[in-house]
Symmetry: C2
Subunit: 581 residues, 2 copies
């Protein structure tokens, strides 16, 4: 068993068994990661409305902050598209992009999110991620991806666009479209075509060159870096920056600046709600990736450690001039496929990016912004999941509606509103669904001790003994419905003398339901019926034991429904039972 300190800092466990062999694997993965991560980091910084170097800063020390607490061995963190967009929306609503306070507000947002995440982890609130349903997450991701794509069209055409939703972005694009730059569009368009083709064919091409499958698939993922190098050389050779093509320009050389984020009270008040939502999305996105990888590697994930790791990473980002970070899907997959064994791979990646930032940041001067926009567009198209939408809709109309509503609100109103509406809706739909539970009148399958729905099976029933099975926990949202249904049944069967509530599906009875069961008992007594329970689960029975309802109960509690049936239908079966259709 690991000690408490080891549980808090998982590296203390795996570093003890760390071997030269693992070290080599981690270093190799880190080299590949460094090359992959640079274009992404620059691109997402621009998406967040920040100078490109902040993306690099966010990919250095925050990786160490995460590694310290992480329970996942191969989750790779850094700037991601969704969080960059949410950050841009939140900060943009209080400071205009390009103004002096914008950067400071972004840092404050990262700090706040980090603190929220860390505290949630320390308070062991990791279960909260489960309160957002998959359809809502899926609708939110698809919607955000579409918003991101539309937001990048401006950079692709070389014009300025602003807006919190697709409609505003498209309108702003339309207004400015006249001043578009042909050279910029040519570069962006070619990169998109190249990346799409690379995704389709590069892997097969490399495999046909006799490279092992994992090497081929890893190299194929480096296509964005190829595009970065090629378009940078082109722009440098043709001096495209003087022909209206926006390029990255000078990046400050040197290590990330260490600075304490300036958080004013006004800023705090304005950012606390967005920071909470961003924390939620950071956590949900990161753990859903980490869960998938842990399942594949047979490892165990501790959501609370993940919260603390992500919190530490974002606090570190805020102190080193970076933007908010999360676990990224593509970088985690590459990290895994490139052979990373532990978070040491991330540590080496951080060192790699640190070296690039210190010595080679001048190389990005001629990198066209359109190349980065194209990279983003191609990357996020994989997040648009229309098949999932179709499958979900077919499986459950309610889940499908939650998905579509989240998607539409995210697209047409804004991403913050999207996640809020989605979460609210999935809770309400769940309540509504359980508020009208499936209640069946059951009968005995002849010759057995089994009781099944009289509408689905050929069963024996008795007109004096009604057996109802309720397929749901009885709680405040559905207890009244149960009372109404029982009332309806006894009105239809005036000869009934006994009603048995079969509780196989009843996993809890809350205080509201207990009140109403007591009312049902009184009501049945008034109508001359005894009220029995059968097959009550152990934990439910334990709680019922000492209640007023049990003291008042006119009938009995039977261990099995068959025992109840046997006891209550005392007459010879041939004259008393009829076979339902």
């Amino acid at each position: 068993m690991p000690t408490r300190l080891q549980r808090l800092f998982p590296p203390l466990v795996w570093l003890r068994g760390y071997q030269r062999h693992t070290l080599a694997q981690d270093i190799l993965a880190a080299c590949i990661m460094t090359v992959l991560v640079i274009p992404q980091s620059l691109a997402y910084a621009l998406l967040a409305g920040l100078p490109p170097e902040t993306g690099l800063y966010a990919s250095i020390l925050p990786l160490l902050g995460y590694a310290l607490f992480a329970s996942s061995r191969t989750l790779a963190i850094g700037p991601v598209a969704l969080i960059a967009l949410m950050s841009a929306t939140a900060v943009g609503s209080i400071v205009d992009q390009g103004l002096a306070g914008y950067g400071a507000a972004s840092l404050a947002l990262a700090l706040l999110s980090g603190v929220i995440l860390f505290c949630m982890g320390a308070a062991r609130l990791g279960f909260i991620a489960n309160f957002i349903s998959h359809p809502v997450i899926s609708g939110f991701i698809t919607g955000s991806a579409l918003v991101i794509i539309v937001s990048q069209l401006g950079s692709l055409f070389g014009v300025d666009t602003r807006g919190a939703n697709v409609i505003a972005l498209l309108r702003s694009l339309w207004t400015n479209l006249a001043s578009f730059s042909l050279a910029t569009l040519a570069i962006g368009g070619s990169v998109i075509v190249f990346l799409v083709l690379a995704r389709r064919f590069a892997r097969r091409l490399l495999e046909s060159m006799k490279l092992p499958p994992t090497v081929a698939s890893t190299l194929a993922r480096l296509a964005p870096m190829v595009a970065v190098v090629a378009t940078s050389l082109l722009a440098a050779g043709m001096q495209l920056d003087s022909q209206g093509v926006a390029v990255i320009g000078n990046l400050p050389q040197g290590l990330p600046p260490l600075a304490i984020p300036q958080v004013t009270w006004t800023l705090l008040e304005a950012l606390v709600v967005p920071a909470f939502l961003i924390s939620l999305v950071i956590f949900v996105e990161s753990t859903s990736i980490a869960h998938r990888m842990a399942a594949r590697r047979g490892e165990r994930l501790d959501p609370n450690q993940e919260l603390m790791g992500l919190g530490a990473a974002n606090v570190t980002a805020a102190f080193t001039g970076g933007l908010a970070v999360a676990g990224g899907f593509s970088r985690s997959v590459v990290n895994d496929e490139a052979g990373a064994q532990t978070q040491m791979a991330s540590v080496f990646t951080a060192i790699g990016i640190g070296l690039v930032t210190v010595f080679f940041s001048g190389l990005f001067y001629f990198l066209p912004e359109a190349t980065l926009a194209a990279t983003i567009i191609v990357a996020v198209t994989t997040l648009v999941d229309l098949r999932g939408l179709k499958d979900t809709w077919r499986y459950s109309r309610q889940d499908g509606m939650a998905l579509v509503a989240t998607l539409l609100v995210t697209l047409l109103i804004g991403i913050t509103e999207g996640i809020v509406v989605g979460v609210g809706l999935s809770l309400l739909l769940y309540l509504y669904r359980t508020s009208r539970p499936h209640i069946a009148i059951v009968g005995r399958i002849p010759g057995t001790e089994h009781f099944r729905n009289e509408k689905r099976y050929q069963v024996e029933t008795d007109h004096r003994v009604v057996i109802m099975r309720v397929d749901e926990a009885i709680y405040f949202a559905n207890a009244q419905y149960l009372e109404d249904r029982i009332g309806g049944v006894i009105r239809q069967r005036p000869e009934a003398t006994d009603l048995i509530l079969m509780c196989t599906g009843v996993n809890t009875i809350d205080a509201s339901a207990l009140d109403i069961l007591d009312t049902i008992n009184t009501r049945l007594q008034g109508a001359g019926l005894r009220f029995h329970l059968s097959e009550v689960k152990g934990p439910v029975m334990d709680k019922l034991q000492t209640t007023r309802f049990m003291a008042n109960l006119s009938g009995r509690v039977f261990l099995s429904t068959f025992e109840a049936w046997h006891t209550l239908t005392v007459r010879p079966p041939q004259t008393t039972t009829e076979v339902a259709p």
Copy 2:
């Protein structure tokens, strides 16, 4: 079967069979009701911060508005303490009491609430009342009753108090206490003592005078009217109004004014949230009383008709200068006990109060406000339910916490906040409870086809075939937990080859859960286990049928757990089964 028109207007049904005998009973009940309702109506108007006559107006035409749609035969509506307080809080937060706009804002609030209620009924949203748990309602009512009592202390001492919560009210009372009026306190104090004694002994006293029990209990409830008459006579005889005792004074003589409420856009924006909460409380309070009476009389209640009736009543109140109304507990009980058979009793009550308003309103000139405050205090003490708090706490810690939190927030912060916190909390607690469902590893009860928890029963188990029973619908909030638990179990049982998920308690599987079941299947396959389901309920199976999960499933779906056990444990039982403790 009633026609659609008859369903919309229930009087069309019962008026056809209306007989002279029923008419006599209804008229008698109405006479008693008129006498009972007048002090209440005056008192609650003052509680709402309005002129006393508005309480009378609210007890005339709104009764007819309700009767038109009501499915309840004996629910009596009118001003009630809780709604009067909520109205005072909501309106007081935008217009100071006593200012010109206060009355207009109260009418706007009643109108808005009425429209919301009516629309909810028309949209058949009656099920919404079930989304508030009983402990939350109980905490809210107890908390509000205490706030009401404290709010009346000012009138009892003859000083002015203001405040949205108990702390503010007590502080304001303390500040002004120096100027208290001894005569006022004497009157109020005597009335409280008289009413408490009357409640304790009047009924028994009347019964000992050979009156029939129902007559005795009805007469005993008229004690407040006795106090009203006695203190009015006293005040008139001693001219107490000139000695610092606040009296009702001149009431406008004549029928309620017909006027269109002035609803400005600003007013609408400020009142829409409180109006929504007030509608909710009006509906919940009224239907909980109506449900109790319907169950006793064996009648059927239609929540949507109730919503429309309450909506019509409040719209009528707004147009006739009244305050917001709801079903009142004490007036409904008196109505019922006095022998009312139909809503015609309410119609006659309305006529009675109308006559009083037109011809006798001058009689209330000398009625001391302290008498009404004392009436309110004694009436609402019955709403303080400490025994319910104790019972709930003992039955379920979570429900108890929701109750206490609602009570404390209502008391210490405000009643609006109380209901909001309560509703939010009961939802979150429900989610939290279902997010960690009871999962048991089950074994076979020797010699039977029954499978029970291995921790509770002496059962046969097989180290290769693990049977897990999950006692809850599987949905987004608990699916991840199920995956983690299954992961833990297979780590502990490396020799397992088959895992059966026993679905007796699984009433739904939502889209999120379906994703995770698919992940579980993949994960088990990776660990060399087959994944089976047993006893899947019909409706759940119908939906699963066409999914990717079912196509991927490594094992089978068995009708019964016994069949699964029998099929998978093919070796002779004596060598393979061990008996668990």
